[in-house]
């Protein structure tokens, strides 16, 4: 079969297999198969290929999907998995410890300076128009004592900002939706999620939104100090 006939045979086979052929095209294919019986093998092979393509194409298409947004509640669970499986920054720090042994005194000094900075700077600032909102997501329900302690730690860190406690994602999301949305007002939302082992910070400052997640490392206080430093850097 020459290439012209080959292309015609392919077109006819395609249309007949897809049930898109006219009566004339169906008759043309029949005539071709009668005159060249070896094409029957070709047609069978072609039909097998079509079946295989019909099986595989939906999966290929789904693999390339881009629509759909990761639900917010899934993030924490997945990040916990990352931390547990790959270690993350905390584990890396542990590995690198031997390399920085000689610099311990310098780090100690730096930590002391940082603590002074974290404690002193907020006391010197005059909070004009800024808004800090703090919440705890306690989905476990069975660790009330721990949550109470954590709430006290959060309260101590951001005096003057009441700490809200939510037992479900839905309640938390409703709270977030109801927050002030005046773009001129600097705002920081700090959400502690013990189940996910992280503190999430989002908000806006100087008209620009910001967002950061802080995995719990050593303890809640240490993590909250990092959160506070981050918030201060945003201009609060």
């Amino acid at each position: 079969m020459n290439s012209m006939n080959d292309e015609r045979f392919f077109d006819l086979a395609m249309k007949v297999t897809a049930q898109q052929a006219s009566d004339a095209e169906r008759a043309e294919l029949d005539a071709l198969l009668r005159s060249q019986p070896q094409l029957k093998v070709e047609l069978e092979r072609f039909q097998a290929d079509v079946q295989m393509a019909k099986n595989a194409l939906p999966l290929v298409e789904a693999t390339q999907a881009t629509a759909g947004k990761l639900p917010s509640y899934v993030r924490g669970r997945l990040q916990t998995k990352v931390r547990q499986t790959l270690g993350g920054p905390a584990a890396k720090k542990e590995t690198d410890r031997s390399l920085i042994w000689g610099w311990r005194w310098a780090l100690g000094l730096a930590t002391a300076v940082a603590v002074v900075f974290l404690v002193a700077v907020p006391m010197m600032r005059t909070p004009t128009g800024l808004l800090i909102q703090v919440a705890v997501l306690d989905t476990t329900g069975g660790t009330r004592g721990t949550v109470t302690n954590d709430t006290a730690v959060l309260q101590g860190m951001w005096r003057g900002s009441p700490v809200q406690t939510f037992s479900s994602i839905i309640e938390l999301e409703a709270w977030e939706k109801n927050l002030a949305t005046d773009v001129r007002q600097p705002i920081a939302r700090i959400i502690y999620d013990p189940a996910a082992g992280e503190v999430r910070v989002s908000g806006q400052s100087k008209g620009k939104p910001f967002q950061e997640n802080f995995p719990l490392e050593k303890d809640l206080i240490t993590t909250l100090q990092r959160v506070k430093a981050f918030v201060l850097e945003r201009g609060f």
Binding site: E7, F10, D11, M14, A18, Q20, F46, D49, V50, M52, A53, K54, N55, A56, L57, P58, L59, V60, E61, A62, T63, Q64, A65, T66, A67, G68, K69, L70, P71, V74, R75, R77, L78, Q79, K81, V82, R83, T85, L86, G87, G88, P89, A91, K92, N213, P215
Partner: protein, 192 residues
């Protein structure tokens, strides 16, 4: 989004993973939906999440960021197929063979979803991921779209030419080229 930085992912960088999870979610969700929508739609999200968790476990064995999407899709596919097998086996064991039809939409009767795609279901996770990766790299636009328009959506040559902005005479050429690529990628079972 650009491809994630594989090294950062392998080191467990939370922000790199954050971006990767957002990028991969549509894939794992769509694959799980493909398999489970008709029978167990409430399981789709769980399977998608579990697929991403399994991807985290396997990321250190990944050699290139290009492999992430096909691997995530392959994991989601296998998890969905396992769930279907498990549930159908349970139903058969309980003698509830007719309940599957009750789960269909619009009064149509559907077959068990495993019978028709068993060649895919039989591919192991790595092989399926490799074939998906090859398909994505070989079926560049508009080739993949034209194949899907014709074989999955049943569009006619004229409609495909109009929708995809190609000459009607070239639709058949695209289909032939696409089908040959599919045969190369999916037709032969690799020797293990």
């Amino acid at each position: 989004m650009n491809l994630p930085d594989l090294t950062s992912l392998q080191q467990g960088d939370p922000s790199a993973w954050d971006a990767a999870f957002h990028w991969l979610w549509p894939t794992v969700f769509a694959v799980a939906q493909l398999k489970l929508q008709s029978y167990f739609p409430s399981e789709i999200e769980d399977i998608a999440i579990e697929a991403l968790e399994e991807l985290v476990e396997k990321v250190r064995a990944v050699k290139s960021a290009d492999e992430l999407k096909p691997l995530a899709a392959s994991i989601a596919h296998h998890r969905a197929v396992s769930l279907l097998r498990e549930r159908f086996a349970k139903k058969r064991g309980e003698g509830k063979t007719d309940s599957l039809d009750a789960a269909t939409d619009e009064g149509q009767t559907k077959h068990e979803p495993l019978s028709e795609d068993s060649p895919l279901a039989d591919l192991d996770q790595k092989e399926l991921a490799q074939r998906l990766g090859k398909s994505i790299s070989e079926l560049k636009p508009p080739l993949g779209e034209i194949l899907s328009d014709f074989f999955l959506r049943g569009l006619r040559y004229e409609e495909i030419a109009r929708n995809r902005g190609v000459a009607i005479g070239s639709v058949g050429v695209y289909l032939k080229r696409g089908l040959e690529a599919m045969r190369r990628i999916w037709g032969e079972r690799e020797e293990k």
